[in-house]
């Protein structure tokens, strides 16, 4: 039996084409986390007041989010956060709408703790005109997800002074029929 010929070289392919990252342990608070790796999302539920449904027409709606602090990272860097309605509200795994006309989008700059404002006029107008059974929930997520270590954390409703708010500008319905 002839001895086997010795190998002249060894080749080895890449075992993975990604990166290794140990995410920090999330802080034990109730803040709304958006972005990072793995990417976090936050779910917000909105109650549309009766006034907007039957007596007013929404002309502008702005979502106001107060960051718990500046997002650390490279100076001048930024990422996008957008608000996206869900098709049905089943909690964290709610399927998301793909109708981009209802998305709200804004840019978050790193190392800045400014209040974040997202224009959501189209979505809130639609909700105000819909029947009361319509799902009025949306998700905050980073775009694109998983492409940045940066994560922003907003105060939730448990921080009454800084909780998320919708600033809605509306026009009251004209009183027809009265001279």
């Amino acid at each position: 039996m002839a001895p086997s010929s010795p190998a002249t070289h060894l080749s080895k392919g890449a075992l993975f084409d990604s990166f290794v990252f140990d995410p920090p342990t999330p802080p034990l608070d109730s803040n709304l986390a958006v972005g990072g790796a793995p990417s976090a999302r936050s779910l917000l539920r909105v109650t549309i007041p009766p006034l907007l449904r039957d007596s007013a027409d929404v002309v502008r709606a702005t979502l106001i989010l107060v960051p718990a602090g500046p997002v650390p990272g490279a100076r001048g860097d930024a990422f996008a956060v957008y608000a996206r309605p869900v098709l049905t509200d089943i909690g964290a795994k709610s399927p998301l709408s793909t109708n981009a006309s209802f998305f709200g989008l804004t840019t978050v700059h790193l190392n800045v703790a400014d209040t974040v404002r997202i224009e959501m006029t189209s979505l809130i107008r639609t909700w105000a005109r819909a029947d009361t059974t319509a799902v009025t929930t949306f998700v905050l997520q980073q775009r694109p997800e998983g492409a940045s270590y940066a994560q922003i954390r907003f105060y939730s409703t448990r921080a009454p002074a800084f909780r998320p708010a919708l600033h809605i500008t509306y026009v009251r319905r004209y009183a027809f029929g009265t001279p």
Partner: protein
């Protein structure tokens, strides 16, 4: 932010930028509307003075008593209007069929008539410009309010000549109609602020009754008197009543004298208590004087009228003065008659002056 209430004076001023929609008067925009004229072309060409004596004017049902055969009359009008407020001027035009009547004897001396006329014209379109503060910043806005429709007076009248000198008439009036209305607010910064549009259809309902008499003092002199009371005008949206306004009690009279076979002159007056009809409403007094000259087959008519408008800004009612003229022509041996009229009106009030030219066409047939 809520819709800014617009003062009436501003409405009158800014209405000058209104699109050319059918509307009878700017003065009626902030009231219930513009009251219609219950006159045929024949009566209107005499300034309205012959309306109490004209069977085809939906004013005085006793006049129907003289209808010997089934007859029908329809009135059409086209108007061109200019409205001046300070240095601003707008021109508008409109056309309509404000009156229709058909009637004839049913039993003995009893004559039944029915038809419709415009009770309140509620067609208008106004555009106003303003700047309001939203979120701390001034934002220019444009408001457009349009209304298209009218309230009609459906009349069912009974009349009879109870004596060779006296005719009496009674009528029930169904006041009904609808308007399609819309209000739009546009922001100059349309990227940030969306346009708000709301529209609706308003249905109107009301009832009324009237009575009248014609008395022949002699063969040449005829007197007329009428009284009418309407209840309330109810405005419904989607089956829900949104407003109720009182309607006026009205009365009037007239006199007609025939100095010869080819001449007749008449005068009429009317009081209407429109002041009960809500904001910007005023009681009105109207007078008219007119003449009809020539043969019955082709008379020439002219007249003058004056009075007040039921709705308008301020504590004082706007005033109206008008001149009119017209001709008539019978054809087919008297089975048909065409009436033409031309009317010039001037209305003044609260800094606004309206001038109106109206061309009138009437057709009466006796099959």
């Amino acid at each position: 932010m809520t819709r800014v209430s617009i003062s009436l004076a501003a409405l009158a001023a800014l209405a000058l930028t209104a699109p050319a929609r059918a509307q009878d008067s700017q003065f009626g925009i902030h009231g219930l509307g513009t009251p219609g004229r219950w006159e045929s072309v024949r009566a209107r060409a005499t300034g309205g003075a012959f309306a109490p004596f004209d069977a085809f004017s939906p004013l005085l049902e006793a006049a129907v008593a003289d209808v010997q055969r089934v007859s029908a009359g329809v009135t059409g009008a086209a108007s061109w209007r200019s409205a001046d407020f300070g240095t601003e001027r707008a021109t508008l035009r409109g056309s309509r069929f404000p009156a229709f009547l058909i009637g004839g004897p049913i039993v003995g001396h009893l004559v039944l008539a029915g038809g419709f006329s415009t009770y309140l014209d509620k067609s208008f379109g106004i555009v106003t410009h303003d700047t309001i503060v939203i979120r701390g910043n001034p934002e220019p806005v444009t408001d457009e309010i349009t209304s298209d429709g009218a309230v009609s007076d459906l009349r069912l009248a009974l009349a009879a000549r109870v004596h060779s000198r006296l005719a009496l008439g009674f009528a029930l009036h169904g006041i009904t109609g609808s308007t399609h209305v819309s209000a739009t607010r546009r922001f100059d910064d349309s990227t940030t602020y969306r346009t708000a549009i709301v529209g609706n259809t308003i249905a109107y309902h009301g009832l009324g009754g009237s009575a009248s008499a014609l008395y022949d003092v002699n063969a040449d002199l005829r007197l007329a008197a009428w009284v009418r009371s309407d209840t309330k005008l109810r405005a419904d949206i989607g089956g829900q009543t949104v407003s109720t306004n009182d309607l006026p009690f009205a009365f009037g009279g007239g006199v007609r004298w025939r100095p010869g076979t080819d001449a007749a002159i008449a005068a009429a007056v009317a009081w209407r208590h429109w002041g009960v009809a809500g904001l910007n409403a005023h009681d009105t007094f109207d007078w008219s004087f007119g003449a009809e000259l020539g043969s019955l087959t082709s008379p020439v008519r002219f007249g003058v009228r004056g009075g007040e408008l039921a709705f308008g800004p301020g504590a004082k009612a706007p005033t109206e003065f008008g001149l009119s003229a017209g001709i008539g022509k019978q054809f087919s041996g008297g089975r048909g008659r065409l009436d033409f009229g031309l009317e010039r009106l001037e209305r003044k009030g609260a800094g606004l002056t309206e001038r109106v030219w109206s061309v009138l066409l009437g057709l009466t047939v006796r099959p």
